[in-house]
Amino acid sequence: MSDDLLVLARRLIKNSGAQKPRQIYLKRAVSTAYYAVFHAMAKSNADMFLGVAKASRSETAWQQAYRALDHGPAKTACQAAQNLNFPVGIKACAAAFATLQEKRHSCDYDPLHRLTRQDALDALAEATAAVKALKLATPKDR
């Protein structure tokens, strides 16, 4: 799901308009970029708990583990991870989660919040790098 969300975020930015980008497209792109990281993390957590192979795990248990990721506590843990001894990729992914969550909140709930095209591209770049880093991380670090 996270890869599809990244593709969608990219399309939203591309279709936002060249001269004066439409805010709603840019805001939805940032929000979508956050959810790409959120779902990548949810899947990673569920896979670590219950395994990747569908045949050898309970799908109901996997689904529950996937849905157990809570935005607030996850953000707090991701912020704390910056000062722990994690590999660079994990730290970058954790920082992206915290950073993008704050941006998503502004985009989704603050009607006066304004974005530039570069802001949206920045969020997309950060989310893309975060999802990639999580996929490349060893099971021990995930």
């Binding site: 707090t76 915290a98 704050e102």
Partner: protein, 106 residues
Amino acid sequence: MASVANNFSRVSIPSDVHKALCKEAKLLFEGFSVRDVKLIADEDHDGDPILRMTIEHGLVDKEVNLAEVRRKDSQLRSRAWDLGDSRFVHFRHVYNDQQEVSLSDE
């Protein structure tokens, strides 16, 4: 970790930390035409204490690599921690409208 961060609440930034972080930002982004650096103590949407750094850039005649910018942001976060401020730092880079950016260094 949260309890350590919460001790800061919305306490202002110690002047030596503020000065050091702004100076470090200007140094790190030397090739990125830094016009202005602002650093404030704030709360995020959950009410947790954070720092917000806004870096305004002038137009640079090459693409700004956003992956490189992010790495420098990360260095600044580590610097804040080294200086004794455990609040998470949120960054916003404000570029010239005409500035070209690239998404990764691949």
